[in-house]
């Protein structure tokens, strides 16, 4: 309908004038932005290159030949980080959802579990991840329990899952609490039980709302899997460390950093876009 109306429309001379003014303004803004960027970045580059130690830094951190040499081992290590991220991520999602549901339930039978869930979240959200990794990595094998693997990759994953479940549970819980009580009232007045109301009405809306912050946590998770290297897991960080201490050339660290960034930057961009879409969707929900 509007297409038919549009095809007959051609801009007035005033509108054409306005458009050329707008173009002039944006050209001017673009040239200011370019000049400012060249000045700032150029200054930083000059400071870096003219610093007294630049030659040493260049050979020990940015040795391209050595970087190429260690690249395959670091990539192999990164594969461990990725596996850890995805397997851990799945476990985190399930545990966190359980914790969030326990913390929001009012069922009297679940009272002790609600208390335990709260204690769990307090502990693992409050303690530094690196300590949890050390405690699990060295403490659990010391228990000499039968059937519990002392594989460092497994224990490292467990430590990361324990900590991140607490973070993610809080994100999901905040999503559940953000759903307006009128939604619950509507569902309950239709005769849905409180469990059905949670499952079919509250949770689907809550999860949709917290997807952007969860993506953020997912990026952090990938980075933090690098911490399991302290247990001796040959991930990207550890692989870089081995090579760096062998030759006293730190280029492998730079290679590892670049590899992480190649994955995390697209992920954060995607997250930002998801947040923008979420915000505009929420704004259009005004009537509800």
């Amino acid at each position: 309908m509007s297409e038919n109306q549009n095809s007959a429309w051609s801009p007035s001379s005033r509108e054409i004038q306005r458009r050329s003014s707008r173009r002039a303004i944006s050209r001017k803004q673009a040239s200011i932005a370019a000049a400012s960027s060249i000045f700032v970045l150029g200054t930083l580059l000059v400071i870096l290159v003219t610093s007294p130690g630049w030659q040493t830094v260049k050979t020990t951190f940015f040795d391209i030949e050595y970087g190429k040499e260690v690249f395959p081992t670091v990539v192999k290590g990164l594969w461990i980080n990725l596996q850890l991220t995805f397997i851990g991520g799945a476990a985190i999602g399930i545990i966190a959802l359980g914790l969030a549901l326990l913390r929001t339930t009012k069922s009297p039978a679940l009272t002790p579990f609600r208390f335990l869930a709260t204690a769990y979240v307090d502990i693992f959200r409050g303690a530094p991840l690196i300590l949890i990794i050390l405690l699990v990595g060295f403490g659990v094998p010391a228990l000499e329990l039968k059937g519990i693997s002392s594989n460092v990759i497994f224990l490292g994953t467990v430590a990361v899952v324990l900590t991140y479940s607490a973070y993610v549970a809080e994100v999901i819980r905040s999503g559940i609490l953000s759903i307006h009580p009128s939604q619950r009232a509507a569902a309950r007045s239709l005769g849905l039980t409180s469990g059905q109301t949670m499952r079919f009405v509250v949770l689907p809306q809550a999860i949709r709302r917290v997807v952007p912050p969860l993506l953020n946590d997912f990026v952090s998770l990938l980075k933090d899997t690098g911490l399991v290297s302290i247990l001796g897991v040959t991930d990207a960080v550890r692989a870089a460390q081995i090579n760096a201490s062998r030759t006293f050339n730190y280029t492998p660290y730079v290679v590892a950093a670049i590899l992480f960034l190649l994955i995390t930057i697209p992920m954060t961009r995607y997250t930002d876009r998801a947040i923008r879409q979420r915000t505009s969707a929420q704004n259009s929900e005004g009537a509800i």
Binding site: S182, Q183, A185, A186, A187, R188, S189, L190, G191, L192, T193, Q196, F200, V201, P204, Q205, R208, S284, E285, A287, I288
Partner: protein, 248 residues
């Protein structure tokens, strides 16, 4: 004629504020009871108490002779018999119109999906919304959303329909499409309790009009008596203000 709903000396307070004060009311089958009164007079609270969304501090509520204000009663089963429509529609934004309507019949009444869908589509068709079945609520006008909300509660074949200022969030042009559904339901013999500020509409559908003030019914009677020849000075004052606002 049997009373579908019977309220006896209902008392309810929120903290220090007494919202319902020894309020009694009988709603016979196939009748519409209209609650009028200023904002804060207790209309919405009364409806929410009937639906057990709020618990009462004293008094008794009977539905078809069964006391539903008993704490041992299964509230989900009681709510299945009561339909409730809210001022702010409260449709589920993540579900389509059809899914909004069929959710309770499927999950609560245990109907199979085809059966529930057929019934829902018939209701949508009856109220001229068949083309909206697969839309999400945010694509609908306020009037359409409220009509869907009414259909959603009708899908459970309620014994009693509670309507809480269902046109207050709508612009005047959309009010009539919602009210005409209620008129239809009234002529079908649906038993209803409704809170409204639309006095013209109240005159058309009400078998009994109750004027609420400070948590009690100050005046009750036919629409003719209460709305057009009120005896109580407070009712007169309220209706005068409504009249000045151009709602009569």
């Amino acid at each position: 004629m049997a009373n579908v709903l019977e309220l006896s000396k209902i008392r309810k307070s929120f903290g220090a504020e007494l919202v319902l004060n020894d309020l009694s009311l009988s709603v016979p089958e196939h009748t519409a009871t209209v609650l009028i009164g200023a904002s804060g007079s207790g209309k919405s609270t009364l409806l929410r108490c009937i639906n057990l969304l709020e618990s009462i501090d004293d008094g008794q509520i009977f539905l078809d002779g069964e006391e539903i204000s008993d704490p041992l009663i299964n509230v989900d089963e009681v709510r299945r018999k009561l339909g409730m429509v809210f001022q702010s529609f409260n449709l589920f934004p993540h579900k389509t119109v059809l899914e909004n309507i069929t959710l309770a019949p499927i999950k609560v009444q245990g109907k199979n999906k085809d059966e529930a869908t057929t019934a829902a589509l018939a209701l949508l068709k009856r109220f001229d919304l068949a083309d909206k079945a697969d839309q999400y609520p945010d694509r609908l006008s306020g009037g359409q959303q409220q009509r869907v909300a009414i259909i959603r509660s009708l899908a459970l074949n309620p014994r009693l329909l509670l309507l809480d200022e269902i046109t207050s969030a709508l612009d005047p042009v959309l009010v009539n499409e919602v009210l005409s559904i209620v008129r239809d339901l009234k002529s079908d013999g649906m038993t209803m309790v409704l809170a409204t500020h639309e006095m013209g509409f109240a005159t058309q559908v009400a078998d009994e009009v109750c004027f609420l003030e400070s948590g009690n019914i100050l005046e009750r009677g036919s629409a003719q008596d209460v709305l057009h020849a009120p005896k109580n000075p407070k009712t007169q004052e309220f209706l005068k203000r409504v009249h000045q606002a151009g709602r009569l």
